[in-house]
């Protein structure tokens, strides 16, 4: 074997690599536990079918792993994940950008079984209200919808701008116009 094939690194480098691999995997899984459901919810809310949303989110976390192994920026991994998932989703399904309300998942009563008739009634009212909001949101422009849904996920304007590759002022305008239109529709 050629001398050049012998790794000159001391064994501490091997340990460092191993510890780095482990910590990256742990970080990805922590992010998965925290963000995979909101991400799937976000994608489905924008019209992606549940199976595709699941696969898109899975792929986004594999990309996050690559990103971290390549010493990528870690300052806002949540925004990074949404940006990657958003782009993957857009590439995966053209319905992402359409206004197909029939693609929306059926609303079902969520949570524990209600113990009283009043709570059942309230839940049905809530479900109907949610259905109307969904239908109204899908009558907005894609940019307005994206901005409003990310805002509802708790992102700041600068983060939404980062996810959607827009300027902060454009994000503000989309949110304002989207909310005003929704106010008229609901």
């Amino acid at each position: 074997m050629d001398r050049a094939d012998i790794l000159p690194l001391p064994s501490t480098a091997w340990k460092a690599d191993y510890l780095e691999d482990t910590s990256v995997r742990r970080l990805v899984l922590e992010q998965y536990d925290r963000e995979s459901l909101p991400l799937r919810r976000y994608l489905q809310f924008l019209g992606i079918d549940p199976e595709t949303a699941q696969e898109v989110v899975h792929e986004a976390f594999l990309k996050l792993h690559q990103h971290l192994l390549a010493d990528g920026d870690r300052t806002n991994l949540r925004a990074w994940l949404y940006r990657v998932a958003h782009n993957l989703g857009r590439n995966t399904q053209t319905a992402f950008r359409s206004s197909r309300t029939d693609a929306l998942p059926d609303l079902t009563v969520n949570g524990d079984l209600p113990s009283q008739a009043a709570s059942i009634e309230q839940e049905l009212l809530d479900a109907e209200r949610n259905r109307l909001v969904r239908a109204a949101i899908h009558r907005l422009s894609a940019a307005q919808r994206d901005c409003l849904v990310l805002r509802a996920q708790g992102f700041k304007y600068r983060e939404i701008a980062e996810v959607l590759n827009l300027s902060i002022s454009t994000v503000g305008e989309n949110i304002q116009r989207g909310l005003e239109k929704l106010k008229e529709l609901l």
Binding site: W14, E20, L37, Q54, A152, Y157
Partner: protein, 213 residues
């Protein structure tokens, strides 16, 4: 923000009310909006209506029926382990990364079939012998010395064996110390030929020293 300067005289536009609700204004801007809302019922109603629409979106979003999939998580975990950097003990990491599982297993099998008897002889008759052995185990009839960080609970049958040059300094750090048989042997650059057992996660689990360089 010029709109904020004369809030006491004019009603703030929706844009400013929304930014105030989203905590996107400066402290001074937020204070100006607050004081205006405290004094102007019309703007307060507008503000609350916008807040209500926002709450409706959050509620509709949160009501999406989605379950956490433990199966998907386990699948991701397996894939992450398979994609992890292979921790190099001796061979260049870029070389190891290129070794697909199939190639590594095939190479290890072919190597074992051809050379196992020769290794046994060479170990008995020549080359340095580890003076101090940490715990050992067998895979496919070959003895491996367990390396630090190896997990004894991992299944060994799906592991890969890769032959490579390993620096003696690395082995010393792993608890395998060679008795110097010459001055050359104590050189820090010294390396030995060894089979390295890689676990399913790509980490070195054990080492079988074949011969000195």
């Amino acid at each position: 923000m010029k709109d904020l300067d004369d809030l006491s005289l004019t009603h703030p536009p929706d844009a400013l009310l929304i930014q105030a609700a989203d905590d996107e204004l400066s402290t001074a801007g937020a204070a100006a909006i607050d004081s205006h809302l405290a004094a102007c019922q019309a703007c307060k109603r507008r503000y609350q209506a916008l807040r209500q629409v926002s709450a409706g979106i959050e509620s509709a979003l949160a009501a999406s029926p989605i379950d956490f999939s433990f199966e998907q998580r386990a699948r991701l975990e397996r894939q992450l382990e398979a994609r992890a950097r292979i921790a190099p003990i001796a061979a260049p990491s870029h070389l190891l990364r290129r070794l697909s599982s199939a190639v590594a297993i095939a190479a290890a099998l072919a190597f074992a079939l051809l050379y196992v008897p020769h290794w046994s002889r060479s170990l008995k008759t020549a080359g340095p012998v580890p003076a101090r052995l940490p715990s050992a185990f067998e895979v496919d009839g070959e003895s491996f010395v367990a390396l630090p960080y190896s997990n004894p609970d991992l299944p060994l049958n799906a592991s890969h064996i890769v032959q490579m040059q390993v620096p003696v300094s690395s082995l010393a750090d792993a608890g395998i110390v060679f008795e110097p048989i010459s001055n050359e042997m104590s050189s820090p650059d010294r390396s030995v030929l060894a089979d390295v057992l890689l676990g399913m996660d790509g980490r070195p689990l054990g080492i079988h020293v074949l011969n000195a360089e």
